[in-house]
Every structure is written in structure tokens, then in C-alpha cells.
């Protein structure tokens, strides 16, 4: 998705969430907007090579941390 569009959607979502938090009665207006924006912003994608390397490194660090028996 276009990064500029992501920023705009993020700003609109921020305004909508703040409005609902301040006055829950406005939920009727803002909830459909939030419901439309959230799925577009939260689409899951596969890891990049850097993310995979970072995850593996963190996992291996965790495994090393627990290499000794718990007594």
C-alpha cells in the first residue's frame, strides 16, 4: 500500500479512536470508519530476510539463556 495513504489512514484512525474514547456516544458514527480502516492497516505479510534473521537470533538467545537445568 502507498505509504502516504497509510499515513493518512493512520491519522484518520487516530482521530476516530480519540473521538470514541472521549465520547462513546459518537461510536455510531466512528465505529464503521474504524472498522473499515483497521483491516486495511493490519494486513499480515511474510517476514523479510532481516526479520527472519532477527527472529532466529532472538530465539537462539532465548534457548542459550535456558541451556542449564532448572533446579
Amino acid at each position: 500500500m502507498n505509504p502516504l495513504l497509510l499515513v493518512v489512514l493512520g491519522q484518520v484512525l487516530d482521530i476516530a479512536l480519540k473521538a470514541v474514547v472521549r465520547d462513546p456516544k459518537q461510536g455510531d458514527v466512528f465505529t464503521p470508519i474504524i472498522g473499515a480502516i483497521v483491516p486495511a492497516l493490519s494486513q499480515a505479510a511474510g517476514e523479510t530476510a532481516a526479520e527472519t534473521a532477527a527472529r532466529r537470533s532472538a530465539a537462539e538467545a532465548t534457548f542459550s539463556k535456558w541451556a542449564a537445568p532448572i533446579v
Binding site: V38, S42, A44, F63, K65
Partner: protein, 137 residues
């Protein structure tokens, strides 16, 4: 005085609850991007969340080792040893699947999932937190 403090507490709490609810809503709505292989994406997500659960289990076990029975401690140490190779097996199967569309990713995930369920059940049975709860950080 007390009611003013309670009111202030509620005022502070409401945005926090709304924020937490919004975050849970965001996570639960995550769909797979078009063109992405759901098996790859979900397996990577599974790998990403499973080792912190292992870490939490071991941290909790270490903190509570003195109160555990020898049998429970033995189980904890069996899980401690079994988890890393199983995790690496899932990761390796995923790489094979990504490279040529073959490999036993589902079988490996099932094995790791069983171990995670055992960890959560063990911690819960010993009076620890619910590790698989959404509220668990």
C-alpha cells in the same frame, strides 16, 4: 476524597481500557495480504510468538522451582530441552516449504503446538499464569 480518587482512577482507566480493546481489535483483524502464502505467514507468526511463551514458562519455572515437586521439575526440564530442536525443525520445514513447496510444515507445527499446550497446562496446573491468554503480555 476517596470518591474523587476513584473518579480520577476511572477517568484514567477508561482510555487505557479503550486503547487495549483497540489493540486487541487490531491484532484480531489482521488478514493475509493478497499474494502472500497463508501457511508461510501464519507459521512465521507462530514461530514469532512461541519462543517468548517458552521464555515465560522457563522464567516462571525458575522463580517457582523451590516450591515444585521433583516430578514437576523433571517435566519442566524435559520441556526446556525438547523445545529448541522442535522450534528449529518447524523453521527448517518452513524454509523447505518456501523453497520448493514441500516439507512437513504442518506436522512440525502440530508437534510444537502440543509442546506449547503442555507448557501452558503445566504452568497453569502449578498455579502459574495463563500463558496463552490474550491479556498475557
Amino acid at each position: 476524597m476517596r470518591s474523587a480518587a476513584a473518579s480520577a482512577g476511572r477517568t484514567l482507566l477508561r482510555p487505557a481500557i479503550a486503547g487495549a480493546a483497540a489493540l486487541l481489535f487490531l491484532l484480531s483483524c489482521a488478514t493475509i495480504q493478497p499474494g502472500q502464502d497463508p501457511l508461510v505467514v501464519r507459521t512465521e507468526q507462530f514461530l514469532k510468538i512461541s519462543y517468548p511463551i517458552y521464555d515465560q514458562t522457563m522464567s516462571w519455572a525458575q522463580r517457582n522451582a523451590s516450591t515444585m515437586s521433583p516430578g514437576a521439575l523433571k517435566l519442566v526440564n524435559e520441556i526446556r530441552v525438547a523445545f529448541p530442536p522442535l522450534y528449529r525443525s518447524v523453521d527448517a520445514a518452513l524454509q523447505v516449504y518456501k523453497a520448493n513447496g514441500t516439507g512437513d510444515v504442518l506436522g512440525q507445527i502440530s508437534a510444537l503446538e502440543r509442546l506449547i499446550t503442555q507448557m501452558a497446562t503445566l504452568v497453569s496446573a502449578l498455579g502459574g499464569p495463563d500463558l496463552l491468554s490474550k491479556e498475557n503480555p
